[in-house]
């Protein structure tokens, strides 16, 4: 257990260092930082002085170490374009993204699991074939196309839902929430559905596959022989045993939701971190880009680590099978 834990933590740190290195190297390529910070009228001496003060004359490893040191303290510098600390900008935008991701995750789980159970039990009914076909369409439609179609139907044609922004927000300290106003909820509906659709189909297909697998096992046959009701078998015996992989995938997918929120936020002009990032990309605002990437990588690495550890705790068989990390779907 201890060696497994250490190996996973070391791996997580290596990943973070690799991401930090990539983020750091963007600074060196994307133009001269000094030019990005001072105006046209700055003299040659001022520039040289600033260069020295920023430590840009230091050897590469020293600069990288300083970057990592600052990043650990949450300091990613000052945005070239917005002239404000990156950490503040990200903290400001984070609640919007997290609320969107939370609602999408709940939506995906609460529709994906029942649909998957149904398609697993009533395997050959036309309704489950219908759901499977729909889910293939759901996988094939790119996120932003779904979003645009929804906007066209519900905002442009029917005019029932707002097409952009968060609507009314209430400030709870520094956290701006859209959960407390009707307007906020109305604005949340379309982005949340757009973001969750892909995950819903994924969870549905996974639960279905797991159900099919479990329904074939002996203990289900035995439960049937004991005369248990279908309901008790399906939910008490079968579903319970499919949930370990489902929870794993759902956990890993929180990270995926954060990544895909870049697209959803762009479509709906949702003022979250993803929109901040993509706007930074078009202005080559490297501090924001690198800060966002490091942060998202950190979220991913942390979730992966927790899921791996959970898996290890839940499934005793893994204690025998060393070296391989938790099974995950591609």
């Amino acid at each position: 257990m201890v060696s497994f834990l250490i190996r996973r933590v070391v791996q997580a740190i290596l990943v973070m260092l690799a991401v930090a290195f990539l983020s750091f190297s963007m600074f060196n390529y994307a133009g001269d930082p000094v030019n990005n910070m001072v105006g046209q009228e700055a003299s040659r001496e001022d520039r040289a002085e600033l260069r020295e003060r920023l430590g840009l004359n230091d050897p590469f490893p020293v600069q990288f170490a300083r970057f990592v040191g600052n990043a650990i303290q949450g300091n990613f510098g000052i945005s070239y374009q917005l002239q404000r600390p990156v950490a503040d900008l990200i903290a400001e935008r984070m609640p919007a993204t997290l609320e969107l991701v939370l609602v999408s995750a709940i939506l995906a789980l609460s529709t994906g699991i029942p649909l998957g159970v149904y398609c697993g039990i009533a395997r050959h009914s036309w309704l489950s074939r219908f759901f499977l076909t729909i889910s293939l369409v759901g996988v094939s439609l790119p996120t932003f196309v779904i979003g645009i179609f929804l906007i066209y139907i519900f905002a442009v044609t029917l005019g029932v839902l707002p097409s952009f922004g968060r609507g009314g927000v209430v400030e709870l300290g520094w956290w701006k929430t859209s959960f407390l106003t009707a307007d906020g909820w109305r604005s949340l509906i379309m982005p949340a559905i757009t973001l969750s659709l892909f995950q819903t189909t994924l969870i549905m297909r996974l639960v279905r596959a797991e159900m099919l697998e479990v329904m074939r096992t002996d203990y289900i046959k035995f439960a049937r022989a004991r005369g248990l009701s279908n309901r008790a078998i399906n939910f008490g015996h079968a579903l319970k045993n499919t949930l370990v992989p489902v929870i794993t995938i759902a956990g890993l997918n929180i990270g995926a939701l954060i990544a895909f929120s870049i697209i959803t936020e762009t479509v709906f002009q949702w003022p979250g971190m993803g929109l901040l990032f993509i706007q930074a990309v078009s202005f080559a605002d490297v501090p924001i880009m690198s800060g966002y990437l490091v942060l998202v990588a950190l979220v991913f690495v942390t979730i992966n680590l927790i899921v791996d550890l959970l898996y290890y705790a839940v499934d005793p068989r893994l204690k025998v099978d060393r070296g391989t990390s938790a099974g995950r779907i591609a």
Binding site: Q11, V15, A18, L22, S25, M26, Y29, A30, L136, V137, V139, S140, L141, P142, T143, F144, V145, I148, F149, I151, Y152, V156, S163, L252, G255, A256, A259, F260, I262, I263, T266, V267, I278, V281, S282, A284, V286, M289, L293, V296, A297, F300, V301, N304, S325, R328, A330
Partner: protein, 315 residues
């Protein structure tokens, strides 16, 4: 002697012929959905290959575009013009022609990036499975790490680093290269893992040991003897990855880090048209969106069918 694949009886042509033999063709003719999907895919390929000859207009020929034709709705609607079946965009370009040219670009980048990740993935997978040891551990660790991030995020990261490394002018000129590199490099893992697995199985078979014994160089054994025998699943992955690569390209272009509006792919068309959704010109963005969705759905259906047809467990 060592140069002939006869020693194993498993050459390239042989395995390709086996791949398309009997069963698979049979299951193809039994599935109407797959045949429709194949038909649609073929239609897109045809459009892509012969775009300039089929398209009713050339959307890039400035001489033939007039602002008088701007923002016309599809032909069947009021004020529609029979010359422009799917309407025109804000600059008077024919939407149908733009879609045909856009599909060409989308498919080109899709194919190129699939080929890049296929070569990279199959190569690394072969080496990983054949050599084993520390090399294998290293490659698989990198693969595992990359797999734990969504590929669109990796593509964005590579895209950001590549674009950061060049100035604005180069960015426009090298947009194709940047896209192909960022999508290709973000999708090699699937191939590598699959090929590694089958390579480790094949490595211990007698024909490989026989090849070792008669003194064939390891690199030739990998290329001539093992590779043809591990390619089956790779073709399935490649089909599914083609759909994913097309989506990835469209997504990056939609986000504004892909192709510029001067060389629009389907994603760029959707991005540009999206601005006019609210002023009522829905056809500028909805038709390219539908074209993209249909293309991806058709390729996905083909991939699904191919996977089922090649998987003996499901028969």
């Amino acid at each position: 002697m060592a140069e002939t694949p006869m020693t194993t009886g498993r050459g390239w042509t042989d395995s390709i012929r086996r791949f398309f033999d009997g069963d698979i063709w049979h299951s193809f003719t039994r599935s109407p959905v797959t045949m429709v999907a194949a038909g649609i895919t073929f239609l897109y390929f045809f459009m892509a290959a012969f775009g300039p000859w089929i398209a009713p207009h050339n959307p890039f020929d400035l001489a033939s575009i007039t602002l008088l034709d701007a923002s016309l709705p599809p032909a069947w609607m009021e004020y529609g013009d029979p010359r422009f079946w799917l309407g025109t965009d804000i600059q008077g370009r024919d939407v149908l022609s733009a879609i045909i040219y856009g599909s060409r670009v989308s498919l080109l980048i899709g194919f190129a990036s699939v080929i890049l990740s296929l070569i990279l993935g199959v190569g690394l997978g072969l080496i990983s499975g054949f050599v084993g040891g520390a090399v294998d551990a290293f490659i698989m660790r990198v693969a595992e790490i990359q797999l734990s991030f969504p590929s669109i995020l990796i593509a964005l990261l590579i895209n950001g680093v590549l674009r950061g490394a060049m100035d604005i002018q180069d960015q426009a000129d090298l947009a194709y290269t940047v896209l192909i590199l960022s999508i290709g490099l973000s999708n090699w893992v699937q191939y590598a893992r699959t090929v590694r697995g089958s390579t480790m199985v094949e490595r211990n078979k007698e024909y490989v040991q026989a090849a070792h014994v008669i003194g064939i160089r390891p690199i030739l054994i990998m290329w001539r003897h093992i590779l043809p025998n591990v390619l089956g699943p790779v073709l399935v992955i490649a089909t599914i990855q083609l759909a994913l690569a097309i989506i990835a390209e469209a997504t990056l272009s939609f986000l504004g880090v892909g192709l510029p509006p001067t060389e629009p792919s389907l994603g760029t068309l959707i991005r540009v048209g999206n601005d006019y959704l609210f002023s009522g010109e829905w056809w500028i963005t909805i038709f390219p969106g539908a074209a993209l969705a249909i293309l991806v759905l058709a390729v996905n259906l083909l991939g699904d069918w191919l996977r089922d047809a090649l998987n003996p467990k499901l028969r």
